[in-house]
């Protein structure tokens, strides 16, 4: 086990290195520079700024320096969006806000999505299944901003006399509701579909027949015998999805004016804020790598047949 984890950590470092290099080259390949704004500065100013932040040097040299700093956990400072504020500081302040909303979103998505998936599988072919199929297909195919805007419109005063929640995120419990609903809706629908498929597969297995022949109650058959076997595809999806959701949704944070990390993923690129692009990308990549490792360890917990050391069944 220790050997396995060591191997995985080593692989994680290599993966991260590749992600860093790719991002670094790609972001430098994008035309434009951080200094462009409404008033275009003079070439002399741009040159001076480039020299100050070391952007006048060849990309490969810049990368070397960046990697060297990274070894000391120095992510650099923002050069545009929050000028001269350390990137690490930005991430560490913004992440908890996004993570709070994300965690609630993903928890409700799991608590509702998985049982709904089980229900749809159990009632396959009936109107319950069809209704859930319609809802979930809608949820999966509707863009996030539609869901967010609809919620915003309906529940914050768009309909006469129905102003249940504040429009803006202000940290109060009430203001959490809509962003969490909006952010969790897609994963909930996706999870529900995933669970349904996996459950249908499990329900048709012979051990379910055995469980029925033993005289077990339906609830126990579904939730003990079928669900545990159906969990593998579900947690496979959940691992990276948790990382994405906890890092915040760009759209949801925009729509509800949440000062979270999600918006920085997109806006740092728009602004060519190079250190911030690197910082957020590395953070998300590392998060996903960790989640995938946790998922792999969970496989073993869910299904004793899985032998991690051998890398498969």
């Amino acid at each position: 086990m220790a050997k396995y984890i060591l191997k995985r950590v080593l692989m994680a470092v290599i993966t991260l290195f590749i992600v860093i290099c790719l991002t670094f080259f790609l972001m430098n390949a994008v035309p434009g520079n951080p200094w462009l704004s409404e008033k275009t500065p003079t070439q002399a100013t741009i040159d001076a700024l480039n020299a100050k932040y070391g952007l006048d040097q060849p990309v490969i040299v810049q990368l070397g320096k960046y990697l060297e700093n990274l070894l000391h956990l120095d992510f650099g400072t923002s050069i545009k969006m929050q000028k001269d504020r350390p990137v690490l500081d930005i991430i560490l302040t913004m992440f908890p806000i996004s993570a709070g909303i994300g965690a609630i979103a993903i928890i409700w998505a799991i608590l509702v999505g998985v049982p709904l998936g089980c229900l749809a599988a159990y009632k396959r072919g009936t109107w319950v299944d069809s209704l859930l199929r319609v809802i979930c297909t809608l949820g999966i195919s509707m863009p996030g901003f539609v869901v967010a805007t609809m919620l915003l419109h309906i529940l914050t005063g768009g309909i006469e006399g129905l102003k249940l929640f504040p429009t803006m995120f202000d940290g109060t419990a009430k203001s959490y509701v809509l962003p969490c609903l909006a952010l969790g809706f897609y994963p909930m629908c996706y999870l529900s579909r995933q669970t349904r498929t996996a459950m249908l597969d499990a329900i048709n297995q012979e051990y379910i027949k055995t469980a029925r022949a033993k005289g077990l109650k339906n609830k126990k058959i579904i939730f003990k015998h079928a669900l545990r076997n159906a969990l593998i595809p579900v947690i496979t999806y959940l691992g990276p999805q948790i990382a994405f959701t906890l890092c915040g949704g760009f759209v949801v944070e925009k729509v509800f004016s949440i000062p979270g990390l999600g918006r920085y993923f997109v806006m740092s690129i728009q602004n060519r804020d190079y250190p911030l692009i690197m910082g957020t990308t590395i953070f998300l990549a590392a998060f996903i790598i960790v989640m995938n490792l946790i998922v792999d360890l969970l496989y073993k917990l869910v299904d004793p047949r899985i032998n991690l050391a051998k890398g498969g069944n």
Partner: protein, 349 residues
């Protein structure tokens, strides 16, 4: 194991009809079969794939899956009408009074739970008040009873850590843990190696003697039937074409299908030049079953009437009957002969 031996009728199936309502039409999987099973008796149900033998057994235990439905007849278990029971009553019945074991032990145990967990669960499903220690003690006793050693270790093992034969032993232990009166064994040895098959059969015979339960043994293997059964029902296309004591079925078969089955079975005492004779033709299309005797299209003795009318059962001996026009013919001839004999006797007198 306690020895509360009961006698008499354990199970009575009367004119059972089971149909599957598929988009292509109604499939009459079981078309009116009847039999009795006494306590302490082993009955074999023999037939080829699709003959309805498993469907028939599933109806007894209420495991028929939609679109399958019992549409007629009655099933009486220890005097109680099984078909009139509610869903909850059926759940309570399964595993306690009637247990079932299946064909493939490799897939019938849940791969993600330990043997112990699955055994104890079977017990707890019907005995809510049993303590943890007591349950696990009884589970281990069951495992020992079915010939598994090192039980404490086995309890903590997962199904994939056991061999096929061992898993089938676990399945049997699981079925018997609540001391059922009736065990339905759906081809329990088919998926096993021949040597293991013999062991499992030996075990089941042994357990049956100890517990005096009734067993319905579903198989397509006549060798297995000879080994373990007291009586046999032969099924073809959802109909019971012949039933009788095991010796009668083997030595005095009355139905051409039974004869065909016997001829297609390898025998130790056969001469080396003898070949196995397969039954020509293919099984009936159950969506469009032929009128008359379902076996007629494959039967070498088929007569005109066979294709038109289903033959009635003809008694061939004690509890031995077959549904075949040939036997009806025999009977008529015998009656005629009897009459002439009687006449002669009368003349003489």
């Amino acid at each position: 194991m306690e020895n509360n031996q009961k006698t008499g009728k354990l199970l009575e199936v009367k004119d059972l009809h089971v149909s599957f309502f598929t988009p292509a039409g109604e499939v009459k999987a079981v078309g009116g079969i009847s039999y009795d099973l006494n306590y302490d008796e082993v009955m074999g149900i023999v037939g080829e794939s699709g003959s309805g033998k498993s469907v028939e057994a599933y109806s007894i235990i209420g495991l028929l899956q939609s679109p399958g439905k019992v549409i007629g007849g009655s099933i009486t278990l220890e005097g109680e009408d099984v078909l009139a029971k509610t869903k909850d009553e059926m759940v309570a019945l399964r595993g306690s009074k009637v247990a079932m074991i299946f064909q493939n032990p490799m897939t019938c145990l849940n791969p993600v739970y330990t043997i112990g967990n699955q055994l104890i669960e079977a017990l707890k499903a019907h005995d809510k008040h049993v303590s943890k220690e007591e349950a696990s003690k009884r589970a281990m006793e069951m495992l020992e009873l079915v010939g598994i050693n090192n039980v404490e270790k086995r309890m903590k093992q997962y199904p994939h850590e056991l061999s096929g034969g061992m898993r089938q032993r676990v399945m049997i232990a699981m079925g018997l843990i609540c001391h059922p009166q009736l065990l339905i064994a759906d081809e329990p040895t088919t998926a096993l190696d021949v040597t293991i098959q013999a062991q499992i059969l030996e075990l089941m015979k042994d357990l049956q003697k100890k517990t005096h339960m009734g067993i319905i043994f579903i198989t397509h293997n006549l060798g297995v039937v000879a080994e373990i059964c007291d009586k046999v029902s032969v099924m073809y296309a959802g109909k019971m074409v012949e039933q009788g004591p095991v010796d009668d079925i083997f030595y005095k078969p009355g139905h051409p299908y039974t004869m065909g089955l016997l001829r297609s079975m390898p025998r130790v005492d056969a001469e080396s030049y003898e070949r196995l004779i397969p039954i020509e033709g293919s099984p009936v299309d159950m969506l469009n079953p032929p009128e008359g005797c379902p076996f007629a299209p494959r039967c070498e003795h088929a007569m005109k009437i066979c294709l038109q009318k289903m033959p009635p059962y003809v008694e061939l001996g004690d509890n031995h009957r077959a549904a075949c026009w040939l036997r009806v013919q025999d009977q008529i001839e015998k009656e005629k002969a009897g009459k002439t004999e009687n006449k002669e006797v009368g003349d003489n007198g």
